[in-house]
Structures are given as structure tokens and as C-alpha cells.
Symmetry: C2
């Protein structure tokens, strides 16, 4: 699956969060595309057509994307292209949104009063109108305050958000890990190879055990 990541950020180079995500987006099946005006309609529309999953990635400025994304929407998503031809129907739309505010502030009664799901309704309505499948938004809160381990976990979640079917099953996430491990093993220096291989075998065994357990549970249910 080809994923197009449209990044809307006025100071992209200075954003440590975006630079971190950029490393994560360095995948064979993902294209990193920062927005920069002016836009060439034909190029932008062709990029959209070649993608199966479209991601709008931005920091939340005044409860919405920075102006450049709206500018891009107003210009590129013409009525002819987006509505009459329904050119994007059947594709997926995901939002990767970063905020400096903690997650718990986004609820009724808290500082921001509304959930992110509520604040992102205009994008959801747009997806609905264009026949795009709306993915659950991917929110990153206070990246700077995250520990290194939290950031590593974030990177994995982000990569899975970009490329796995959404919502991803436990098995799909597990397989994704195994594939990544295999790739790492191939590229690893000799002295690490054995450890990685053992880790891979352990993961595979876990998966087999889990599948067996699930089968047993199903049998028990049938017997009842």
C-alpha cells in the first residue's frame, strides 16, 4: 500500500517532532511530502491519485491545521476533481496531529473543552464528502516531554499507522514486528545476528502458542 504523508508545518526544519517523524516515515511504501506554496494543481492531484492512504500531518494551531493546509485544500480539491469526478473515493484519510497540550485537556470541562475527535470534524466531514475512508486520528501530545522509550514506542505506532490496515489486529502488528526483525537481522553485523535470530524465533513461537491457545478456546466454546 502506498501512503502519501502531506506535512503542513510553517517551520518544518525547526520542529524536532517532525524531524523525528520524518525518520520513521523513511519507508519503501511511504512518501514524505511537505507542503510549500505555490502549488501546481496537476502535480498535487497526481500525487493524491497514486496514493492509497493519504495522511495530513500537522501541529494543531488554533484547533485546526496551519493555514497552508487549508490553502492547499481550497486550491487542489477542486469541485471537478474531488466532487464531480470523486477522484479520491475508496482511498483512506488519516490525520497525524501534534499538540503541546496534554491529552487529558481535550475533553468537556477540561482546558480545551472538546475532544480531538470533535475538533477534527471538518476533516471527517471532508472525508465523508469525498468518499474517503476516515481513519482514527493519530495524536501526539507533548512529544518533548516523552522519555526515549516512549518516543521509540511512538515511532513504531506511527510506522504502523502509516502502513498497516487500520484498525490493525494484534496478529497484523505481530507480523509487522517479525518482518522488521528479519530485515534488521539481514543487515546486522555477525555478532548481533544470532541474538536477533533468537529474538525472531521467540516471537514466532509466541505467535504459534497464541494461535494454539485461541484454537483451544474456540473448541471449548463449541463444546459448551
Amino acid at each position: 500500500m502506498q501512503t502519501l504523508i502531506i506535512v503542513a508545518h510553517p517551520q518544518l526544519a525547526e520542529s524536532s517532532t517532525q524531524q523525528f517523524l520524518r525518520q520513521g516515515a523513511n519507508l519503501a511504501d511511504a512518501t514524505w511530502r511537505p507542503l510549500q506554496a505555490p502549488f501546481t494543481l496537476a502535480t498535487e492531484q497526481a500525487k493524491l491519485l497514486s496514493a492509497e492512504r493519504i495522511i495530513w500531518q500537522f501541529p494543531l494551531y488554533w484547533y485546526s491545521a496551519p493555514a497552508i493546509l487549508k490553502s492547499w485544500q481550497d486550491q487542489v480539491l477542486t469541485s471537478e476533481f474531488a466532487l464531480r469526478q470523486q477522484s479520491l473515493a475508496g482511498k483512506e484519510l488519516g490525520i497525524v496531529v501534534t499538540t503541546d497540550t496534554k491529552a487529558s485537556a481535550y475533553q468537556s470541562g477540561a482546558a480545551e473543552q472538546f475532544t480531538l475527535a470533535e475538533l477534527l470534524r471538518p476533516y471527517q466531514a471532508l472525508a465523508n464528502k469525498l468518499g474517503l475512508r476516515w481513519l482514527p486520528p493519530f495524536a501526539i501530545h507533548q512529544f518533548k516531554y516523552q522519555t526515549e522509550i516512549q518516543q521509540q514506542q511512538l515511532l513504531i505506532d506511527y510506522q504502523q499507522y502509516l502502513t498497516l490496515p487500520q484498525p490493525a489486529t494484534f496478529e497484523q502488528r505481530q507480523q509487522w514486528f517479525e518482518q522488521r526483525l528479519q530485515q534488521m537481522t539481514t543487515r546486522a553485523p555477525a555478532m548481533q545476528k544470532e541474538t536477533l535470530q533468537l529474538l525472531g524465533e521467540q516471537l514466532a513461537t509466541n505467535r504459534d502458542n497464541l494461535a494454539e491457545l485461541r484454537w483451544t478456546v474456540e473448541q471449548m466454546r463449541e463444546d459448551e
Copy 2:
């Protein structure tokens, strides 16, 4: 009360709806201010400071304002001005939004899936953050299909939205009419003056009758 109408429309001169509203906004206590980039921060912020009610007026493009309003927000509403100084706290924020879509399309299950109130949440969240009192949005659906009488009614509603306390009581709306009638009477040619005066007296009598009726009802309640 001073009302600042910030109009965000990429083709303002060509919009018959906006030109129509512009006539209505020709009031002593309202300022019509179309957005045009680039913005001078000091000028924009001074304009905001001198207003008691701020209106953002725009056609709904992709379930949000045209990009120029977001661009203005991102630039003019600096953290220093809008958050740390809370410069706009205590003022009011109203939205005048026009759409080509009929009102009934904005609900769950209908074509647009969400209500306008839901789609305008980002502006409501912004009002909340800045300490602005959020007014019920003023929506204009399919202006072109409205009859002349509907449009005249719209103009009155619009003018009242701009200048009356919100929500306006029946008495406030009535008084507003009487004031307008007095102004018209003063400026009218002699042969119309008498008719307008009679109409004014009729309105005043109605109001007195209504006040009397209300007083009677209150008395009856007290007697119970």
C-alpha cells in the same frame, strides 16, 4: 456596542451574498473589514481591541473558513497577544457562515453528516481559550434561492445579530424595530411620513398592550 465584521472571501466582489450583507452592515456601530494579505499585526490587533463584538464572516469551504482567515488567525492571534495578555477576554465572537447547501443536510445521517455547530467547534474552542463569549452562529443557507421577502427578513436578522445583545429578547427586537422606524420617519418624504408615524404608533401600542398583558399574567400567578 462596536462590532467588527471580519470578512474572509477570496472573491468578495463577485459574491452576491456578501454584497447583500454589506448593505446590511452599513450601520453606525459596525465596521466592515474584508481580509486581505499581507496583514499588519499592529493594525489588526488594534482593530480587535477597539471592538466589543467580533464577527468572522465567510462562506463554508471544506467545512471551514477560506484559508485567508486561518492565515490571519495564525499570524494575528499571537500567543503573547491572545493568550498571555488575554487581550480579547470579555469580548464576543460570532460567526456568520454562508453555504450553498440546504440547512437539513447538516445533521447525522444526511449528506453532510454533521451539524454546523459541530463543524464550527474549532472556532468555539478558540473563543473558549481566549475568554471570548461564543455567540450562537448565524447561518445563511442557499441565499440565491431565497425570495425577496426572505432576503429582507434575513437582512433584519443579520443586522440584529450584529448589534443586539445575544440572545435578544422579544422586547429588545421590538425596540430595535421602533428605533429603525423613527429613523426612517425622520428621513422620509412628507407624503410617507404620516403612514410611517401611524405604523410607529401602532408598534408602540402593541408593545404597551403586551407589557400590560404580561403584568396581568404575573398578577394572576401571584394570586394562585
